[in-house]
Symmetry: C2
Subunit: 228 residues, 2 copies
DNA sequence: GGTCGATAGCTTACGACGTAAGCATACAGC
DNA sequence: GCTGTATGCTTACGTCGTAAGCTATCGACC
């Protein structure tokens, strides 16, 4: 059967879902609305997607896949390779703010995430990290990307919604929160801030590899035990 | 009117919501079920809580509030103060895995979050950081806590759900993903890994304060522009 | 002590949501 | 032309958050 020009397919559904989230946010992405966007009833989508969860997973993987680039491996400097990945991940997520939430919450390991993890891991291994340390490094890089980006992505909302943020900015809470009041008025370039952290992390990883014992603040377990 | 022993109140609703999430996860927290748990109809809750969103925000703030401790300020060493906060935050979130998702997604600035931000900021300011750098430091610390913890919290799920993770562990995907296959079999202590990152970040902040120019991997903006 | 206003909880109802089950259509291969 | 299979539609169920209005209880005051 030659499908008509506008036949559905897994990919068409996926693309429409991405477009809908881009246009109206993640909350607007319901199966009914997605169907409508495709000129089709909601239930028809289930011919091409097992359920909504799987669709969300596919969306996540499509995005994570774009974090890496075939050209990365060409660079010989592992710092550049890692930096490129981290900045690309940051930029692509900020371009679709809804994706941050989605990626944070859905841990399914798909093709894209595997390729990304592989790229980071091999960069570290080739740079002389032990397998143990490379594994830690992957988690540290991952945490850095997600944590910083998540925080940055939700900052505009925080400003828009937080009545208190205004009070802080105009100084009326200066007595209660002197520290924040003093720092909040600075001008901040968030992209530059991220670059700062990326370099901080990469430099820290290099020092770990080189066996320079970090000045320990005390074993983490102590704190964990102290409060549990 | 003396309320009967079991009268509702904002606090009782909040505590019940926390308990329900602890016991059955965030998905189980519906207004109907929460009401049932309190022996009350769903709509009765709305006398004490404006809507579900506000309840979730209150839950978040109750948790974030526990990240700091009055004793922190007593310590003179800023590394210890920061380390204590970061480890406490990590531990309290892991103790309630559902909170990670909630905190990541809801950026409302409440009392607890302000106090936490203030504690981190003043620790940095008192350690000689410029206001500008202290502000960056807060975001870096925040990103580190959330990113790493989020990733760790969802890792068990990733293992449970990812059919591929098994394939990686037993080596059948070694050809496609040699790097991950090599590192995934290492034994990992995740708390120790977090301690590693905390020290890495604190040490990196110290170097920023001391004006040691990090070895730049190239300006972040370059990457961002290259792909957008 | 009778009345009154406020408070707390209940009832009903609406419009979303994800999706199970079964039906209708339309094509490909014979 | 017949038949099997793939595709999309229809209907329906149980869930959700919450708007609107009702009822019952109780302290405060005349």
């Amino acid at each position: 059967m030659t499908p008509p020009r506008d036949a559905l397919s897994h990919d068409r559904v996926l693309q429409a879902a991405l477009a809908l989230a881009d246009a109206h946010g993640l909350d607007a992405l319901s199966m009914r609305r997605l169907g409508a966007e495709l000129g089709v009833e909601a239930m028809s989508l289930y011919r091409h997607v097992p359920n909504k969860e799987a669709l969300l997973d596919a969306m996540v993987d499509a995005i994570v896949r774009s974090w890496i680039d075939a050209g990365d491996a060409a660079s010989t400097d592992w710092r550049d390779r890692l930096g490129a990945i981290m900045h690309r991940a940051h930029a692509t997520m900020l371009a679709r703010p809804w994706s941050v939430e989605l990626i944070t919450v859905r841990p399914r390991v798909g093709e894209g995430r595997l390729r990304y993890a592989e790229a980071v891991t091999t960069a570290l291994l080739e740079a002389g990290f032990t397998p143990q340390l490379a594994h830690h490094g992957l988690h540290i890089v991952d945490g850095t990307i997600m944590g910083f980006t998540a925080q940055q992505a939700r900052r505009p909302t925080a400003v828009a919604l937080g009545d208190r943020v205004q009070a802080l900015a105009d100084g009326s809470l200066a007595h209660e929160y002197p520290g924040i009041s003093r720092t909040i008025r600075e001008h901040h370039d968030h992209d530059e801030e991220y670059a700062l952290m990326v370099d901080l992390v990469i430099e820290g990883l290099a020092r770990l590899r080189d066996g320079e014992a970090p000045r320990r603040t005390g074993l983490g377990a102590n704190y964990a035990l102290a409060i549990s």
